[in-house]
């Protein structure tokens, strides 16, 4: 039985038992740090690192879209701001340690987010897409046309001058993994803290009924801009990690419209107004193309002809999966898992 409050639109602030929470977090952290022991470099570099980073980006968009109810189809723009800010800070202010640089890059992205969020004060719904889509194309153009941002490199690419914290070199796959997972763990904690705080509740009030929210004294305009800012902060850091923790070398086109759409898919597929659901969505986005690749190696698809045909087939399958998921699983993969857990629970009780 689901009441209105338990529907995805108005997520309840259910507090799990404190002890269970601590145990889960502890187990999660131990598992996260044990991963490099179990996984080889391929798994780390090609699957786990991108999944974690895209999940983090998903959290960024979900804070805006899922919790505050504001649409953005330009998320990748704020990722690119984070990436280019990190590059320039590392290059031009070499005395700054990496964590400070990441935070500053996030803040720069946040400022841009607030600026492009200004139209949200007058409009909402799908129209807001235009403003964020404007950000998408504007920053891609900016970073491509002004070579200052890429230190006048001929290819307009950026690669991290150094990735180190207190003399620990983080260039290896394991090192980059620890950088990514530690940053993400901290930001997940921050996201939970925000969502469960007064600010988070006010966001949800605005999402569910903005007029009522303003009547009970929530300063809607400020909260919306704050949501844009915090969302872009997360996206900016995710962008920096994507550029240097995953790709190594990137350019403005690594953060194109496709990337923005991928982040949208992550939020919708993972589950709107969830935190961990984003990682399910990210796993789907990262793994599906790899699985389709593997599948095509097993099944002989040579009758299709060239590699291009294969890519098209993958597009068809990917698009179909998205439509099917939207139809069959409106609340995203996270609700699928939640239902699975709840289905197991009574049995566990009766046996124990």
């Amino acid at each position: 039985m689901t009441t209105l409050q338990e529907s995805a639109l108005s997520k309840p602030l259910r507090q799990p038992a404190f002890g269970v929470g601590i145990l889960a977090v502890g187990a999660g952290l131990i598992a996260a740090f044990a991963v490099p022991v179990l996984a080889d470099d391929y798994w780390l570099s090609s699957i786990i690192i991108p999944t974690v980073i895209m999940g983090l980006a998903g959290i960024g968009l979900n804070l805006l879209m899922g919790y505050t109810g504001l649409v953005s189809i330009g998320s990748a723009a704020f990722m690119s701001i984070g990436a280019f800010s990190t590059y320039n800070l590392l290059l031009r202010a070499p005395f700054l340690p990496l964590p400070i640089v990441l935070i500053l890059a996030g803040l720069i992205a946040a400022i841009a987010g607030v600026i492009f969020g200004l139209p949200s004060l007058r409009i909402k719904g799908f129209y807001l897409g235009a403003s964020t889509l404007g950000a998408q194309f504007f920053f891609e153009w900016l970073f491509t046309n002004f070579s200052w941002f890429s230190n006048d490199s001929q290819s307009l690419t950026i690669s991290a001058p150094r990735l180190q914290i207190l003399d620990y070199d983080l260039q290896s796959a394991t090192g980059r993994y620890y950088l990514v997972i530690a940053t993400t763990a901290l930001l997940i904690a921050l996201a939970f803290a925000i969502v469960k705080s007064r600010v988070g509740r006010e966001w949800m009030a605005i999402r569910d009924m903005d007029v009522a929210a303003s009547v009970i004294g929530i300063r809607v305009a400020r909260r919306k801009l704050l949501s844009f800012g915090i969302s872009s902060f997360f996206l900016g850091i995710a962008g920096a990690l994507w550029a240097f923790g995953y790709l190594g070398t990137s350019d403005a086109h690594a953060f194109n419209l496709d990337k923005s759409f991928q982040i949208l898919f992550i939020v919708i597929i993972g589950g709107v107004a969830t935190i961990f659901g984003n990682f399910l969505g990210a796993a789907f986005i990262v793994l599906t193309p790899i699985l389709l690749d593997r599948l095509s190696l097993i099944i002989d698809l040579s009758f299709l002809g060239d590699q291009g045909a294969l890519a098209n087939l993958q597009h068809i399958i990917f698009g179909t999966i998205i439509i099917v998921l939207l139809i069959k699983e409106p609340d995203g993969l996270s609700s699928l898992i939640k239902r699975g857990v709840e289905a197991l629970r009574p049995r566990a009780r009766s046996s124990g």
Partner: protein, 293 residues
């Protein structure tokens, strides 16, 4: 001065092309409240089908009719497989579904008909003619006439036929329309079919200009600012918005571009659209019911 005028006029003609694309969106948005991202993919698919058929030796007119039929079949399939299971869902979910749909349609288009760039010759000479002291491309003039004919046909169909009137009823009040016996699935099928044929015309005009290739599907993105400026639910708005975007974009490229290191056409239209949103959120001709705070 004549340089300014020529830029303005060629921008206006480019705007007519944007309008052609935007009209397809408006039709679907009016009838089903969906921002159909797959419109670009439908454009690519239909243009590729015509080109492939004519390259196989089919006469152009027959290829056009066959492709129209294919687009109608596609519309029925989309209504049945995507729209019907997703009815009553929020607009964002529907938008995402059309994103998925665009992957599927593009994939099929290129899987079946290849990824090469096809030249499309509509038999319209692309030569400049002098009109009132400035040079104008003959192709642009004919393309605009095609667009005008299409718009006039649609306008008559919407205002005079029973089908068109039921469609406007659905757009005005879906629930009331259903209660007087208008069948929504039928309306959707018809609207998506018409949008498919509009995509076909737009695809042919665009395709003969820049070749039939993947990038055709990207003209979708230019339609969004056009729609915002004109209003999502108004066909005259789509045309006015298209003209405005085309003209200002061309002028901005010439006069602002050199100041900032090159072409500004990728983002200028969006900034213009945001300006419009702030000043006049319903667009030039849109309904007042736009969500705003």
């Amino acid at each position: 001065m004549s340089y300014f005028l020529e830029t303005l006029v060629s921008g206006l003609f480019a705007g007519v092309m944007y309008s052609l694309v935007a009209i397809g969106f408006v039709l679907i948005y009016k009838a089903s409240g969906v921002f159909n991202f797959a419109q670009g993919a439908m454009l690519l698919f239909s243009a590729l089908t015509v080109v492939t058929l004519t390259e196989k030796g089919m006469p152009f007119a027959l290829a056009f009719i066959v492709t129209s039929f294919v687009m109608v079949v596609m519309a029925i399939l989309i209504e049945w497989l995507v729209l019907r299971p997703l009815r009553n869902r929020d607009p964002l979910t529907l938008f995402m579904a059309t994103l998925g749909l665009s992957y599927v349609i593009e994939g099929f288009a290129q899987l079946l008909m290849g990824m090469d760039v096809h030249m499309l010759d509509l038999g319209i000479p692309d030569v400049a003619v002098q009109v009132g002291g400035i040079y104008v491309s003959q192709f642009d003039i004919i393309a605009s006439l095609i667009a005008l004919t299409l718009v006039a046909t649609l306008a008559i169909a919407f205002n005079k036929t029973r089908m068109g009137i039921s469609l406007r009823a659905v757009a005005a009040d879906t629930l009331a329309a259903q209660s007087i016996g208008i069948r929504l699935p039928v309306i959707w099928r018809i609207v998506w079919s018409v949008a498919g044929i509009v995509a076909l015309v737009a695809g042919l005009v665009w395709g003969s200009r820049q070749g039939v290739q993947y990038s055709l599907s990207l003209v979708t993105l230019k339609a969004l600012p056009v729609l915002i400026i004109g209003g999502f639910s108004s066909i005259p708005g789509a045309i006015a918005g298209g003209l405005l975007v085309g003209a200002t974009e061309a002028l901005a490229d010439i006069y602002i571009g050199p100041l900032v290191n090159g072409s500004v056409s990728t983002w200028f239209a969006y900034i213009l659209a945001v300006g419009f949103l702030l000043a006049r959120p319903a667009g030039l001709f849109g309904d007042r019911e736009i969500e705003r705070v």
